[in-house]
């Protein structure tokens, strides 16, 4: 009996382990969404299939402010929605090379700087910008735009303010959900943008 239980647990453990490795983050990541799909309709505002998220720099700013670990103002934040891959090939397929990508879903993604920063030797004034991307096979062009509070599918490129080419690289794991987060570097932070098997990093100096 003990042996049987051990074998059973072992089998589950094996599945559990393969689950954590690459590809099948689907299995685990899909769970919350399938739960959401079966929820009765919310008469005021339905839960979106691509939930919104927000990242600050310094990282976890709000929590650290709460614990008094931090007292200065935040440097920047990004607000974006998180589409998931759902078995699709993303780059070169769902997102065509050379075409505009809203870096998210739904509303255009928004980056806000609470102080002046420098990106690729260009000064970026404090303020709020729409951020989007033109992905290519071997690089991404990241664009800051002034057409705020818009939906991501129709960004007015006449209001582009600045653009930055960044290299991309293959990631060691696949990202089921599109992810944006800041990671510290010397003299600033990088905005990490990762989805499927690809990531780009925009270095921001301050």
């Amino acid at each position: 009996m003990t042996k049987l239980a051990c074998t059973f647990l072992g089998a589950i453990l094996f599945i559990g382990c393969t689950d954590t490795k690459e590809k099948n983050s689907d299995q685990t990541e899909k769970k919350p969404d399938s739960a959401i799909v079966h929820t009765p309709t919310n008469p005021y505002a339905t839960i979106d299939i691509s939930p919104m998220d927000m990242s600050y720099f310094p990282l976890n700013y709000s929590q650290r402010k709460m614990t008094h670990d931090i007292t200065a103002q935040p440097v920047m934040r990004v607000i974006y929605s998180r589409p998931h891959r759902q078995g699709r090939t993303i780059f070169g397929n769902l997102l065509k090379y050379g075409e505009r990508w809203r870096l998210g879903a739904n509303e255009a993604s928004e980056i806000e700087f609470f102080q002046n920063v420098t990106i690729q030797d260009k000064k970026v004034n404090a303020g709020r910008y729409v951020i989007y991307c033109i992905p290519y096979r071997d690089k991404w062009t990241i664009i800051f735009n002034n057409d705020l509070y818009t939906w991501g599918l129709k960004i007015d490129s006449t209001k582009d303010l600045m653009q930055f080419d960044i290299p991309i690289k293959k990631t060691s794991i696949d990202f089921e959900y599109f992810t944006m987060v800041f990671q510290p570097i010397t003299n600033g932070a990088e905005l990490v943008m990762a989805w499927d098997d690809t990531e780009g990093r925009l270095p921001i100096n301050f």
Binding site: T28, A45, I79, Y149, F175
Partner: protein, 188 residues
């Protein structure tokens, strides 16, 4: 003994499996959401259907009821509540408005509420970019206003916010479980 070790390993593997690895953030179980007044402003904008400028937007996270009793239980009466999950709820005005008879300048604010059985006291506070209501600082209040609540027949699973037009401007509607409350915002 062996079973316990295996069980521990099993639990650990499940826990690891739940999060997106590489130190990047997993999707939150109380997802964030945003709404504007006018409602669906960004969609109206790309459809060229805007009839009035954006007045306000709210950014909040959406906890689920998950079979729990919410008001008077999970959210205690008489205590300051962050009106959401995770980060405190942010209410931004793109122009000066009035709440009650008090003028509110354009800008970002944190919105809290103190729920009671029959009424909620909304609190507009100037301490932004904060987490929950754990370090709520009354000194930074801009205003408080108390409104009656409305009982709903149909339960609302995920905390929901939306704006509705009113005679003097708009109301921010907040609904969860069987309770609905409105914050009146005057544009006159």
């Amino acid at each position: 003994m062996k079973r316990i070790t295996l069980l521990t390993l099993l639990i650990i593997s499940v826990l690891i499996g739940r999060s997106q690895t590489n130190n990047l953030p997993p999707v939150d179980k109380s997802p964030m959401d945003m709404c504007y007044y006018p409602n669906n402003y960004p969609v109206l904008k790309i459809q060229d259907k805007i009839t009035e400028p954006a007045v306000a937007r709210v950014i909040y996270s959406r906890p689920q009821k998950n079979g729990r009793l919410i008001f008077g239980e999970l959210v205690e009466y008489g205590k300051v509540w962050r009106l959401g999950a995770n980060e405190a709820t942010e209410l931004e005005f793109f122009k000066a408005v009035k709440i009650g008879d008090k003028k509110v300048e354009k800008g970002r604010y944190t919105l809290y509420a103190i729920p009671m059985e029959d009424s909620w006291t909304f609190i507009l506070n100037k301490d932004n970019d904060t987490w929950g209501a754990f370090k709520y600082d009354e000194q930074k209040d801009v205003l408080r206003t108390t409104v009656p609540v409305q009982k709903l027949n149909e339960g609302v699973e995920a905390l929901a916010m939306t704006f509705e037009k009113s005679d003097s401007g708009c109301n921010l509607i907040i609904a969860w479980d069987n309770i609905k409350a409105s914050l009146p915002i005057s544009l006159k």
